[in-house]
């Protein structure tokens, strides 16, 4: 237990070190997830648009 406590305390600088690492991790993960979502969203939109285009051309033929 003491080992963990000591590790978290970081010689008294834990209050500065941990927020640095946690905020860095959070910002980078949020950026990654947001980018992945943007890509998936766009891919879904284009999938929805492309069949619609085909239907339109199909209607024109009949």
């Amino acid at each position: 237990m003491d080992v963990i406590k000591e590790f978290l305390d970081m010689g008294g600088y834990g209050g500065y070190i941990w927020p640095s690492y946690i905020v860095t991790a959070v910002v980078l993960i949020v950026m990654l997830v947001a980018s992945q979502r943007l890509l998936k969203g766009n891919e879904a939109t284009i999938k929805a648009l492309e069949p619609a285009k085909k239907e339109e051309t199909g209607e024109e033929k009949t």
Binding site: Y13, Y16, M31, L38
Partner: protein
């Protein structure tokens, strides 16, 4: 050479292949960097344990400048040679670079408080870094401000190129003027003035940040290419 990669369809194929490699490199390098940085590296003789903030602060600051340089090169190529992929790369880099700049400032404040005795000072290094954040935000705002995306690209590319003068100012601010921020420890003429036991975690984290950037960049470029296709399809539907 450039033309080959500038073909968006070919790029999409390469990007999907490279992306998992970047993802795994990031995870493995960051894992190793965190282990060395938080557990196995020693405390500094002056700064004690607080030196560990360096392993996120310095890579973030390097990437902030690296991303801006990449953006300036892409914007220049886009402006001069009209490569559509170059414009897309610049646009896709901006939010990631802004994140890195924010993190460099944020972790710098957390490091400055215990060591210097202040969260923030208006010295040349810190101020020019804040200017970099505003340049990123200004670029993002400008690129999205126009209804006609090609006009937005032109205006924002010019902003990026003009703002590039700030990058050498950031790098050399600590040599040109006296600042509260200390001079460079790693990238300098007479070799790094940092012990190997601390240089290793720093370099591992720096490479991890770099592969992370490439990972997110590939995702964002793919998203932009698809977004452009959507725009063209919608225009066709409206007019056709």
């Amino acid at each position: 050479m450039l033309h080959r990669f500038a073909n968006p369809t070919r790029f999409l194929r390469i990007a999907t292949l490279v992306q998992p490699w970047m993802a795994w490199s990031t995870i493995l390098l960051a894992g190793a960097g965190l282990y060395l940085g938080l557990l196995s590296s020693p405390a500094d003789y002056q700064q004690g344990e607080s030196v560990r903030i360096m392993y996120v602060h310095v890579p973030a600051a390097w990437m902030a400048m690296f991303c801006y340089t990449g953006m300036a090169v892409s914007a220049g190529v886009g402006l001069i040679w009209k490569h559509p992929l170059a414009d897309i790369a610049a646009k896709a880099t901006a939010p990631v670079g802004a994140c890195f700049t924010f993190l460099a400032l944020f972790t710098g404040a957390l490091w400055g408080k215990p060591m210097w005795g202040t969260w923030w000072v208006w010295d040349a290094r810190l101020t020019s870094m804040l200017v970099l954040l505003f340049l990123y935000l200004g670029y993002i705002a400008l690129a999205n401000a126009f209804d006609d995306p090609s006009r937005g690209t032109r205006a924002s590319s010019i902003l990026v190129l003009v703002g590039f003068v700030n990058v050498p100012i950031i790098k050399f601010s600590v040599d040109w003027w006296n600042t509260l921020h200390q001079p460079a420890s790693v990238i300098k003429m007479d070799g790094p003035s940092i012990d190997a036991s601390m240089l290793w975690p720093l370099l591992l984290m720096a490479v991890a940040f770099n592969t992370y950037y490439l990972w997110v960049l590939l995702i964002r470029i793919r998203a932009e290419i698809v977004a452009n296709k959507i725009r063209i399809l919608r225009l066709k539907q409206v007019h056709g």
